[in-house]
Structure formats: C-alpha cells, structure tokens
Amino acid sequence: MGYDEMITSPCDGVIEQICVQENCRIYEWDSLFKIRTSDGDLETVSLGLSGLLRSLEVYVGEEVISGMVLAYIAEDLVVSGSD
C-alpha cells in the first residue's frame, strides 16, 4: 500500500541527470535528480522517504522551475528497517 507523493524541484535550472527510472524502488538516501541551477551550481534532489517511483515528469536537459513536479512516488507507509 502506498499513496502518491511528489518530488518537486527545489530551484530553477536544467535537469542534468536523472538517477532513477520509472517503476523502480527508491530509498531515503538515494539521490534522484541533479539540477544545474541558473547560478551554475549542481543541486542534488533527494527525498526523505522510500517508495516506488510511479512516473517521471521530466527529461534530461529540461528546464525546470522551483515547485515543478519532477516525479510521482507511491510512498511506503510502513516504517522501513533501521539496518
């Protein structure tokens, strides 16, 4: 069981790398996207939750803005193991 959570862009910039694929599991510590910000910095997007990546909403090279949905995730509701 999971419910949909979305990953939004924290900044304006261009998607430089997508480290995940649709329908794959993601974990709290995974970095999911790398965004080159308008200032030239590389921002890594990760999410403090684990679940199933339902859909990718962006592609590499796409311009994104702060708040834009990058992906939808079916979040795990169970407490994941501490190991």
């Binding site: 979305m6 909403e57 803005i65 708040g67 949905v69 407490v79 501490s82």
Partner: protein
C-alpha cells in the same frame, strides 16, 4: 367572352411555311401586325414576332423560309386561354413567359390572340374568380417568403413563412422586419443592394436559414426586399444537442469539482476561456473567476501576482506540467497544465486543473514525523529488548555452571585467547557472547565465523582478507578480512576443529605475531583481536591423531572452558524449561506450564542435544499442547520414552566412532545410575557385570571432577 378581351383581340394571320420565297415576301408585306402565324400541312404550328425579325434583319431584306425558321416560336409555348375555363397558376406563368396568349372560343377554335400586357391586365381584373393570385403564388412556394417594403416593414408573407417563424399574419404584418429577422443583415442588403444567402438565424423558438434578397427598381435602387426563409430540420436537433451538452457539462462540472478545486481552460495565448464553478479563492485575487474570462493569465505572472505560470510552461514545453505554487496566504496549490493539440499538432487549448494540497501536505509531513518518531521508538525498543533478551542470558543454578560462569567473568577483563569446549548445544556460543559483552571490548565488534561451514578458499579470504586483483571473481576493491574487521574487538572461531591445516598455520602466525597478511599481499597488517575458539570435538584426541596442529592447540588452549553437558547438571533442566516456556508464553500471549511430573521426566532424560534439544522440545510441546498444563504423559510422548524402555541413543553430529562409543557408554552408565541408584541394579539394566559398571562410573565421575 368578355368585351374587354374582344377589344384587345387580334386576328390570326397565317401562311404556310412551304410557300415560295416570293409568296413569303408577299404575305409579309401585307401584314400590319407584330405577329404572324405559320402553318405546316394546314396546322398552325408557330408564330414569329416580326419586331424581332426586322430588328435583326432589316425591314426590306430578302426573307426565305429557311431564314424564317430561325425566328419561329413553337405555338405549343403559347398559352391557350379558353373562355370560361378557370385560370391556373401555371397558366399565369405561361402568360408571363410569352409575348402572346391565344384565345379559343367555346368550340375550341382559335379566335385570335392578345398581347401579354393585355392578358395580365385581364387576369388581374378577373376578381370574379376570387383568386388572390399573389397569395396563391406565394403559398405555393415551399419556402417562407416575406415581402419587405422600402421602410423595411413586412408587407406580405406566405403561410409557410408564418409557420417557420411560429407567428401569425396579424402579428407580423407592418412590423419592422428587423424584429423578426436579423436587423444587421437586412440593413446590409438594403445598403449594398446585394443578396445575402444562407444566413443562419437562431432564436429561442426558431432556427431557420434566411436569404435576404433586395428588390431593385430600374434605377438600381433598393425598393424593398424579399426574405426567403427555409426550415433547418437539423437546427432543431442541434438545439436538442445543445441542451444535452449543457446537462453533460453540469454533470462533468460536478464530477470534476470533486477531484479538483479549480479547472481553467485557456487558449494558446493564455487567455481564459472557461472555468469551473468552484475555484481556489485568494489565488487569483478576484472574487469571481468570471472577471478573468478573456484575460491573459500569463500576464499575472509578469505582474508578479504569482509565479510561475503553469500555463506558460505547458505551452513552451508542449507537454503536461505540474507545479506546486504558493498563494499569497501560504496555501499550496498543485496545478497541472495539460496542453491540447489541434490536428496540425499546434496547441489549441491548455487545461489547468488545480488542487489545494495545503491540508494534504500538512498531513503528510505530520505522518512523516510520526513515522520518524516510531522508527526511533522501534530502535530504542529493540535495544531495550536485546538488553533484556533471554537469548543472551545464561540460565543456570547448578554449581557446575556457576564455576563456568565465574571463570568467564574473571577472564573477561583480559584479552587472552579462550577455548570453549563442550558438546553440541551446551551453550558455547552463548558463553562466547557473554565474554564479549562482559569484557572491556564490548563496545567493539564481535564477529563469528563458523570454520566448518565455509569452503577452504573462501574461508581464507574471509578470515584474512585479500588485496585487489588477488583472484578472479574477487571484489575489485579488495576486501578486509574478519581479523581486520574485528580489530580491537572479538573474533569467535566456532568449530575450530574444522579449520583446514593450511589455515591452522596461518592462524597460528596471526596469534603469535598479531598481524595478518591478506591473500595476494606480501605486506602484513597489525591486528588487535581477542580470539575465542570453540569446538564440540575432542581436540586433544585430534592432536594425538595428527589432525589438529599441536602448536596451535597450545596457542588457543590458554584458557580452556569446559561447558558441561546438560545431563551432568540436571538441576538446570527445570529452570531452563521454565524460562523457555515463559519466553514462549510472552511471545504468543499464552499461559502454558509444565506439571511437576513432567518436569521430573525432563530431568531424567539425558539430553544428547543438550540445551538446544530442550529448547526445541519445549517449543514443540507448547505448539502442540491442547491444555495449559503440559502433563508428563504429553512430554513422554514427545520424548518417546514410552515406545521402548530402551531409548535409542541420539547423535546430532558426525564424530569419530570411538569418541561416540565413549559418549554413549558414559551416557548409559550415568542414566542407569541415576535411575537405579545402585551399581547392581544398573548392571542388570545394562546387562553387564556389576564391577564393570562400578569401574566405568568411577572413571566418569573423576572426569567430571576435572
């Protein structure tokens, strides 16, 4: 015949077309009328309009029969007006179409002809026949006809027209046509003098196709207008459909409103075309979305009302875009913009569906916080549990075990190598664990490796580690071995007796030099590891047999701990049994306990599998028991005492036959002595001599003393 017709009546002058040219000339010269009639075979068959002939030929020119043929008009074209016969509408048109009309008498004989003007005058004078000719004409047309005068007022119309506009003659006559039809179209036709065709005119109660056809006078001025109206059967259907679509729209609106808080439709420029009834207040800064219809939403972004415009993104990217936007009052709104393309692949519309996710977001973060907390609690609990864990607690009351425990406690403070000896299931691993936990290395790692469970090559690299590229299939980065990993901690080498001789050498080196050399490396790495080794085999015997290195044996046998088998400390059995049952009761929320007789029975049993066997038995009993009280009988069944008085010895691992024999003999003697108390009785049960029992029993006791 009416005298007025007679006044206008002209006689029919005729000659044959077969006349000679000279005759023809003669005939024509004598005629003083504009029309001459021709016969063929004595039949009147055509006439010639002489004005026509002379206009093109000249009056005095040579005229032959063949020239005349070009000007003849068949007599069949001409209307025949018979006295007393009612006049039909087609006849009127026939009169209108030809120069003349032939008049017949009651005997069906031609008596002359009259000219068109005269015929019409006569026709319209004939009110005695009660024919409103114009009316007949109009009503016979299957379309609505409205006649408009120069003041743009309706002056006449037909029945079909009235039907189409669902009105009556009295209601509309003399009314401005613009009240019924399209004023702009009427004005246009009046001012340009041009006909407007196929104008669709739809009002609440009619749907018609209208032609506006101006009537021009000789000076080409618009004198009035004929409005031709046609029914549009599909217009009715369209109206029905519109009604249906309206309904559908209401339903859709209701459905969408439950899923989204606001839906907007904008065109490719970003101008708002339509919107849902429901909307997110405070987002646009208006009280009603209606105010925004026709406005460009993208401009709001430029004005800085909010950023960013999801419509602009969807338009620029030509794909679905979702953005979480913040309203001035701090609401979070998820807006999803979906572009809709036309057949040419260009953006036609953009649909923006928005949802207020403030509450959802709040709940989600609360949920996440709760999750984080419960995870922490879970970890805390786990720690508490393991602290209090029965599994790690050594249970005993026998003095033999007390000695063992005292010994471990003493050596815990030292880093000396420990060798734990004892049968399978006596708790060797548990003791090794306790040594680590009680010792000064408890904060450092405790690693266990079972020397008998891993193939030699793997065991070597696992124990000592390897450098990169040491062998194919190895981890590219190389690997730190157990010694390295257990640095400053404790390494428990279980089943040390199974260590292959090559590795025995290597282990000896580590123990002596306190450093390891990883596989594939020449460099040794210093290590600080306390070694605890364990075996259920008789190592001394193995050294004698040459299967275990003597030097290594002495190296690890610094502090030996002999864990006595359970049968040598039967007083521990009830306590252990009680504890194991307690654990299970807690786990399954049950309330089982053993009857005193059952406990007695367990005490007598010799437990070849030691505590592990007891633990398993208790679990089996609890799982299969029907009653809270586990009876001796029930235990008996599980232990299979009852099947045969002679319990079959149970061996749980491979061991040398001689060793097994010794074990078995010891067990048998002890069991017999426990049960029969005297050597005589025991000898009888074992079917050997009393002196043999006595001798063997003494030897066992001595061994146990050690």
């Amino acid at each position: 015949m009416n005298h007025t017709i007679a006044d206008k009546l002209s006689p029919i002058t005729c000659f044959s077309i077969n006349s000679t040219n000279v005759e023809i000339q003669e005939h024509l010269s004598t005629i003083n009328q504009p029309f001459v009639f021709l016969t063929k075979d004595d039949e009147l068959y055509a006439y010639i309009y002489l004005d026509d002939l002379y206009r093109s030929r000249g009056k005095g020119s040579e005229l032959t029969a063949s020239i005349l043929e070009d000007y003849v008009i068949p007599i069949s074209n001409v209307g025949e007006w018979k006295q007393g016969k009612p006049i039909s509408l087609p006849f009127i048109f026939q009169v209108l179409g030809e120069h003349i009309t032939l008049i017949k008498n009651e005997e069906d004989e031609f008596i002359g002809y009259i000219r068109r003007e005269d015929a019409l005058v006569e026709l319209f004078r004939q009110d005695n026949q009660n024919i409103n000719l114009l009316k007949v004409m109009l009503s016979s047309i299957p379309m609505g006809v409205f006649v408009i005068d120069s003041d743009k007022k309706i002056v006449n119309c037909n029945e079909s027209g009235l039907k189409m506009i669902k009105s009556t003659y009295q209601q509309i006559i003399n009314l401005p046509a613009g009240e019924t039809f399209n004023q702009a179209d009427i004005d246009k036709a009046f001012s340009t003098g041009e006909t407007l065709l196929n104008q669709i005119h739809i009002t609440d109660d009619m749907g018609v196709l209208v032609d506006y056809s101006p009537i021009l006078n000789e000076k080409k001025q618009v004198d009035g207008m004929i409005i031709i109206v046609q029914d549009l059967p599909m217009v009715e259907e369209m109206a029905m459909e519109i009604e249906y679509v309206k309904d559908l729209n209401t339903d859709l609106n209701a459905i969408l409103a439950t899923m989204y808080d606001e839906i907007l439709v904008v065109n490719k420029n970003g101008e708002l075309l339509r919107h849902s009834e429901k909307f997110i207040p405070d987002f646009w800064g208006v009280d009603d979305l209606e105010e925004l219809v026709g406005k460009n939403l993208m401009e709001f972004e430029e004005k800085g009302v909010f950023s960013p415009s999801v419509a602009r993104l969807a338009r620029d990217k030509k794909k679905k875009v979702s953005v979480v936007q913040q309203t001035p009052s701090g609401k979070s709104v998820l807006a999803v913009a979906n572009p809709i393309f036309n057949e040419d692949g260009e953006i036609h519309r953009i649909i923006i569906a928005s949802r207020d996710i403030t509450e959802t977001k709040k709940l989600k973060s609360e949920l996440r916080e709760t999750k984080r907390l419960s995870k922490n609690y879970k970890e805390e609990l786990e720690k508490l549990k393991s602290k209090d864990d029965f599994a790690n607690k050594i249970i005993y009351c026998s003095s033999k075990m007390e000695q063992v425990i005292n010994r471990t406690k003493k050596l815990s403070d030292f880093d000396s190598t420990v060798l734990i000896l004892g049968e399978s299931g006596v708790g060797k691993e548990l003791i090794a664990n306790t040594i680590h936990l009680e010792g000064n290395r408890s904060e450092k790692p405790f690693l266990t490796i079972n020397c008998g469970a891993i193939p030699e090559d793997l065991l070597e690299s696992e124990l000592f580690g390897y450098t990169k590229g040491a062998f194919t299939g190895a981890d590219a980065k190389g690997k730190v071995g157990y010694f390295g990993q257990a640095d400053q901690g404790v390494l428990f080498l279980d089943e040390i007796s199974e260590l292959p001789s090559r590795l025995q050498v290597k282990l000896l080196r580590v123990l002596q030099e306190k450093e390891v050399t990883p596989v594939g490396s020449t460099k040794s790495i210093p290590v600080d590891v306390q070694i605890i080794a364990a075996t259920n085999r008789n190592l001394e015997k193995m050294v004698e047999d040459g299967t275990f290195r003597e030097d290594l044996f002495y190296r690890i046998n610094v502090i030996p701990i002999q864990v006595p088998p359970l049968r040598e400390r039967p007083e521990d059995v009830p306590l252990l049994a009680f504890n194991f049952i307690q654990q299970l009761n807690e786990k399954y929320e049950k309330n089982y306990h053993l009857s005193p007789e059952a406990l007695n029975l367990l005490e007598v049993y010799d437990w070849p599998g030691n505590i592990r066997e007891l633990q398993n038995l208790i679990e089996r009993l609890v799982v299969t028991a029907d009653d809270n009280v586990i009876s001796a009988e029930f235990v008996n069944q599980s232990l299979r005492f009852g099947e045969s008085k002679k319990v079959k010895p149970m061996i749980t691992g491979i061991l040398p036959l001689q060793e097994a024999r010794e074990h078995l003999e010891e067990q048998l003697i002890l069991l017999a002595m426990k049960k029969y108390k005297t050597t005589t009785k025991a000898a009888k049960a074992l079917d050997i001599s009393q002196s043999a029992v006595s001798r063997k029993y003494q030897k066992i006791l001595q061994k146990q003393e050690k």
